[in-house]
């Protein structure tokens, strides 16, 4: 593992040199006051990789898993009763995201497992998935996107990454981790393709490394209020499903998609055809388990027909089902959903209750 140093006043130059080779996205503040990743050319210099409020408003998930993605195109006009299907090529250009927070990188690593890319982050690694192999669209975009992380020195009140097997200086899923040392960034290379970004940087000194270590410890110490989650693993699916908590949440949950849309690990999608005349396309769109339509059958039958089942699904999926399947939670503790929820449902409280809440007392019991 090698580390380099980049003085902050040289950041703009570094980025613009990088931008000669590939598209660079950096966090920037928009007219609406929100931070988001924008192409470096359209960001106002001097660049500042640290968004106010700790992180970008939306996770960088959409760079790998866009809101709307074409899977194929078809043309029914050609040929007798024929159907021409054309696989949609994934855009080829490579990009680097500069300033990705460790939680968001970890989220992509979690999704790698679900979409079928090997979680190690090594691009040359094998892929695994269903009988058909990995999701080719995910894989291709993931392949083309280099992630340079920016360690969190000042976690927010809504952050609980340490709770979720992550942390302010966590490295999983990243190709390089940058640490803000005040006047300069410490650039720690984590993968081969991370290395090519640092070719013209000066190596870091041990003092810098030490400084980063102490910042890491300091950041970790700022995250307080860790809570136990062990019982969730021990409790059965049905026991968890029957906790009184879900009815409490369902009373005020709006079943909107705010939490799932801002979530770096939510990945459910819908496949839809769009057609005009004989031509059309098949695409996938972000979907949300909060929507009643998500599971509704054409017949009208709905396996999760009420709010309770739907609000429960989101938390059970993240904190029970994915852990059962993959050995890690489907949440990275970024805290976005806490801020986004219009009725202020706090995922931490939910998880705590999943862990601690006593089962529903049967009707009539004391």
């Amino acid at each position: 593992m090698q580390s380099y140093l980049l003085a902050k006043d040289r950041l703009d130059g570094f980025v613009s040199r990088l931008a000669d080779r590939l598209t660079v996205y950096v966090p920037a503040k928009g007219a609406d006051g929100l931070w988001s990743f924008v192409a470096s050319g359209s960001a106002q210099p001097p660049l500042a990789l640290t968004p106010e409020g700790g992180n970008t408003n939306m996770p960088p998930k959409s760079f790998v898993f866009p809101r709307t993605e074409v899977l194929m195109r078809f043309d029914n006009r050609a040929g007798e009763g024929g159907m021409i299907l054309r696989e949609e090529p994934v855009p080829a250009g490579r990009a680097v995201l500069l300033g990705v927070r460790p939680c968001d990188a970890k989220a992509l690593a979690v999704l790698d497992g679900i979409f079928g890319r090997r979680a190690s982050g090594d691009a040359s690694g094998e892929v695994s998935g269903g009988a058909f192999g990995a999701d080719p669209y995910w894989a291709a975009r993931r392949e083309a996107t280099i992630l340079c992380g920016l360690a969190c020195n000042y976690p927010c009140p809504t952050c609980f990454c340490d709770q979720m097997g992550c942390g302010p200086h966590h490295r999983e899923g990243l190709d390089a981790l940058w640490t803000d040392l005040g006047e300069s960034y410490l650039v720690t290379i984590l993968t081969e393709r991370g290395r090519e970004l640092a070719s013209d940087l000066a190596p870091a000194a041990q003092a810098d490394l030490n400084r980063a270590e102490s910042l890491k410890a300091e950041a970790a110490s700022l995250l307080t209020g860790k809570f136990p989650m062990d019982k969730i693993a021990q409790r059965g699916v049905l026991e968890l499903c029957e906790l009184p908590l879900w009815a409490e949440l369902a009373a005020t949950c709006l079943n909107c998609g705010a939490c799932t849309h801002v979530c770096p690990t939510c990945h459910c999608f819908d496949i839809q055809d769009e057609v005009k005349g004989e031509r059309g396309r098949r695409l996938r769109n972000w979907d949300t388990c909060m929507s009643g339509l998500f599971t509704r059958h054409a017949s009208g039958h709905n396996p999760r027909g009420d709010k309770l089942a739907r609000v429960r699904q989101r938390f059970m999926h993240k904190f029970k089902y994915i852990p059962v399947k993959r050995g890690e939670a489907g949440c990275v503790g970024c805290g976005r959903c806490i801020k986004a929820c219009p009725v202020n449902i706090d995922v931490r409280e939910v998880v705590r209750a999943m862990n601690e809440q006593a089962p529903q007392t049967p009707e009539g019991a004391a």
């Binding site: 078809f74 009988a131 999608f269 057609v275 059958h297 054409a298 059962v324």
Partner: protein, 279 residues
């Protein structure tokens, strides 16, 4: 790399009206690419996404058996946009098939056992596949007694009537086909599936049951089987969640820790009993 979202083009070689209410049609499909047709290896109980460009996809259980050759059979109940469009297709039309998907009945693991196949209404489709596979000379010897119990509302609502007749004529199948409401000319059994199961009283020893049918049938058949001494691990059921991607990613068919499309659709009753009733 193989793109799992891209359907195989297939030609519709036959369409058959199955029921008197015209709600179910059986489609016979032939994959256009011989290579893909050869690679389409499936077992009874698996499903495929039938894909109509511009309309969408519908997950449908495969009704044919791999022992029948490369043509695929799908019996489709008309209930939504895609199935409606499917029903409007005439032989010769070209459409898409994506599959085989999911895990079928674990017939390989059940060799040497007696099998009871219980079907209600139009859920008989994948059980047809299982029956044809089991009765194939290559496989029949691997299994013990085979009991086939199938009920529908009326005689006109029974699927695969010719096939049922050949099964009934065989000595190596105990065939019980019944209807809830008889019609003139019906000389078979009358009664609901749970009743017929109770009358047939299949023995649980060294046996497995494959059960597909409407929720009410499943609900009332289970106590009958329990009464007869069947264990939940011996009973195999097939779920019908709204499967979209078919490869365990999109999340719609998630029930408990399972993705029905990938981990199912066939589950034992024992497995299902540990899940919320979100199917």
């Amino acid at each position: 790399m193989n793109n799992p979202y891209l359907p195989y083009p297939a030609r519709l070689t036959g369409v058959r009206e199955e029921t008197e209410d015209k709600s179910i049609r059986t489609f016979r499909l032939e994959l256009l690419d011989p290579g893909q047709a050869g690679a389409f290896a499936y077992v009874p109980g698996q499903f495929a996404e039938l894909s109509l460009a511009g309309v969408g996809e519908a997950p449908i259980g495969i009704a044919s058996s791999p022992t029948e050759g490369q043509e695929l059979l799908f019996s489709v109940f008309r209930t939504g946009k895609v199935t409606e469009a499917l029903h409007a297709l005439a032989p010769g039309a070209v459409m898409g098939v994506r599959g085989p998907l999911g895990k079928g009945f674990p017939l390989g693991d059940l060799k040497g056992e007696n099998l009871v196949i219980i079907a209600g209404g139009f859920a008989v489709t994948t059980l047809r596949s299982a029956m044809v596979w089991l009765l194939d000379p290559a496989n029949r010897g691997d299994f013990g007694e085979i009991t086939f119990i199938y009920g529908a509302r009326t005689p006109g609502m029974l699927l695969y009537r010719e096939q049922l007749a050949t099964w009934a004529a065989r000595a190596d199948v105990a065939c019980h086909v019944a209807v809830d409401r008889p019609a003139p000319g019906w000389d078979g059994q009358v009664g609901f599936v749970p009743q017929i199961v109770a009358e047939a009283a299949p023995r649980p020893e060294n046996a497995a049951a494959l059960v597909c049918g409407p929720p009410a049938m499943i609900k009332y058949t289970q106590p009958v089987l329990s009464e007869l001494g069947w264990q939940d691990g011996q009973i195999f059921l097939s779920l019908e969640n709204r499967m979209k991607c078919g490869i365990g990613v999109c999340g719609r068919c998630n029930v408990g820790p399972y993705y029905v499309c990938k981990d199912g659709p066939v589950f034992t009753k024992a497995e299902l009993d540990l899940l919320p009733k979100e199917y």
